[in-house]
Amino acid sequence: MVTVSKKICMVGDFGVGKTSLIRRFVEREFSDRYLSTVGVKISRKVVPLPPMDDVDELKLLIWDLEGQTKFKAITPTYLQGSSGVLIVADVTRPETIDHIEDHLQLFFGVNPAGWVAIALNKTDLLDSDERTHVQTSLELNRPQILGPYLTSAKTGDNVDAIFTELAKEMLA
């Protein structure tokens, strides 16, 4: 039985749903209440993997970072030792989508070989037309980037998928 531990970070603007995505993934719960994260909170989750040669189990250490605001940028030292990040944006706030590019640069600046998954979150707030529009409007054809995934921490849409896909890539 081989267990591997990997650190990933949740990065994005404040209030986009980083904490909610973790909560959905780890505790299968969601709350409408907003409690902003300060500093960092680390959660763990064992991710079941499809049968692989060398690894039986993956322990994900998910770092929930304080969201970026006008007044405070993301502290790069948190990203050290992180094999991957999940960059989250809020589909109802276009500026959070614009900031994805900044977060990408920040992460690749610290971990040039890392993996990134992009979550366009709160898609439950969009109708189907808007959803297709959002997904197609984002051009991210680069290696080491997965997505964008249209996620919803509220309904659970694509939440497991985005974490496990990212985990798989980090192990490969």
Binding site: F14, V38, L61, E66, T69, K72, T77
Partner: protein, 497 residues
């Protein structure tokens, strides 16, 4: 900056010393209380500080001296001894000596919680503002793009906002409407149904149809929905009007109604026609039938005079039916637009004399028809003799028919100021005032005609014939005094020659 190896660590700092593999060698006394963990020498530090999982490689770099130190600030740590309340700690990992790493741990819970409430408030405000901006933008876009006119006023009826549809509909610029009374948009002031005072708060008043006026004076029919909105806070109430231009719809409705009315009228006409014809044809037909039967039976035995009387009755009835048929044909032509005006040079004097002679012959001894030719008539006028004949045959025979006890009928003809004027005057039973407005309608017969026969078509034919010639017919009448019809045919250039 690198910490030099100090013989003793300042006592206010809490720390854990481990070997390069993170096995605990030593820790300060207060550390258990901060972390809410029961630490043990020899155990893996990651059992108590899972926050360090994943930092092994970095720790190794620090140990090798490749990195001076490694810091994680404000880590929320949930200790085993108090899992529901996080402590916030700053972690700072340094190399202590060739055998050990030292992890300084600083409790920053108090400042973190303070900062959390601050960040919370700032972020919530930002999110709220963002949502507001979005909904405001959204509302504005809806209002600007909506096809219906939207206006708001204050309670005194002064316009506060208008959308582009309003401006397009009424043809004003925004500045011309802002702060102006809403009454500006109505031809006779603000209708009471739209006054802010008559609008109840809390209900929406729908589809109030009123006439509005554009800047250029055009009248439009607008259906308004309106209501009073009490915005939150101390703001004054706002009256909202949403108007839809239904002018076109109204016009179509009116056209349809007119067409329906017309159709109904035609139907009425048809039933009156059937009622009249069956009645009018029945009398002469039965008298013909009766005479024929009598003749069949008694022709051989009767005196020739009696036979002749019956033959004459048959002829008379046949003529009556023939006249009726002719009238019906003319009316039918006029109704379907087939009655046409073909003016040709006509000697009017001769025409009138012939007509009077013919009618005098028909009227026999009982009446005298007197023709008065006034002034100098041109030798010829461009006139339609068929239409003229329809007109005056009817008017003159009516004059005779409806004056059974007064023998005199006057027929005056003259040219006055570029028009031909004809007057037919009798001294008969006259037309009651109630019947005068409908005198020219088909099948309308005055109530005082009693047993005098008639189809009710004559005057209707006359009116159409006169109008077809571009003329006008009027009359004045008094019961038991008489009736005068005046026909005026304007002579356009080239009519007289």
């Amino acid at each position: 900056m690198s910490h030099p190896l100090k013989p003793s660590i300042p006592h206010h700092l809490e720390y854990i010393i481990t070997d390069p593999e993170f096995l605990i060698q030593e820790f300060s006394l207060g550390i258990g209380a901060i972390l809410q963990e029961s630490l043990m020498v020899g155990a893996d530090i990651r059992r108590f500080l899972p926050e360090l999982v994943g930092s092994e490689a970095i720790a190794h770099q620090v140990f090798q001296g490749q990195l001076p130190y490694f810091t994680i600030k404000e880590v929320a740590h949930y200790g085993h001894n108090n899992p529901n309340h996080p402590v916030y700690i700053d972690l700072n990992l340094e190399r202590l000596n060739p055998q050990s790493l030292i992890l300084f741990i600083n409790d920053v819970t108090e400042t973190a919680i303070l900062r959390q409430s601050l960040v919370q408030r700032v972020n919530e405000t930002e999110l709220l503002l963002n949502a507001l901006r979005r909904s405001e933008d959204y509302n504005r876009r809806i209002i600007t793009s909506m096809g219906d006119a939207l206006l708001t006023t204050n309670l005194s009826g002064n316009i506060k906002t208008v959308n582009p549809a309003t401006l397009a509909l009424f043809g004003y610029h925004e500045a011309e409407l802002k702060n102006q009374p809403l009454a500006l948009l109505f031809p006779d002031g603000l209708p009471t149904s739209l006054e802010p005072q008559s609008l109840q708060a809390t209900t929406i008043h729908e589809d109030i149809e009123v006439n509005c006026q554009t800047k250029s004076g055009k009248i439009l029919t607008i259906a308004f929905s309106c209501g009073i909105i009490h915005a939150q806070g101390d703001n004054l109430p706002v009256v909202i009007y949403i108007g839809r231009n239904i002018t076109a719809r109204k016009r179509v409705e009116q056209e349809i109604n007119a067409a329906l009315a017309k159709e109904k009228e035609l139907n009425d006409l048809k039933s009156r026609f059937i009622a009249m014809t069956s009645h009018e044809f029945k009398n002469p037909l039965s008298s013909i039938l009766m005479s024929v039967e009598l003749l069949e039976e008694f022709a051989l035995t009767w005196h020739p005079d009696k036979r002749l009387r019956h033959l004459q009755r048959i002829r008379q009835s046949t003529t009556q039916m023939n006249n009726l048929l002719e009238d019906i044909l003319v009316i039918g032509k006029a109704d379907t637009g087939k009655l046409e005006f073909h003016p040709q040079p006509l000697n009017l004097r001769q025409f009138c004399q012939d007509l009077v002679e013919e009618l005098q012959f028909l009227a026999g001894e009982s009446h005298e028809i007197i023709l008065h030719l006034h002034g100098a008539l041109a030798p010829q006028y461009d006139l339609d003799d068929k239409l003229l004949r329809h007109t005056f045959m009817n008017l003159l025979s009516n004059a005779v028919k409806y004056s059974p006890d007064c023998p005199r009928v006057d027929f005056r003809v003259g040219e006055v100021e570029g028009a031909l004027i004809f007057e037919v005057e009798d001294h008969g039973i006259g037309v009651p005032e109630e019947d005068q407005p409908r005198l020219f309608e088909s099948f309308h017969r005055s109530r005082n005609v009693r047993e005098i026969k008639g189809t009710g078509l004559g005057l209707s034919i006359v009116k159409r014939a006169v109008e077809l010639q571009g003329g006008k017919i009027t009359f004045r009448s008094q019961v038991n005094v008489g009736t005068t019809f005046t026909v005026c045919l304007p002579l356009e250039a080239g009519w007289s020659s």
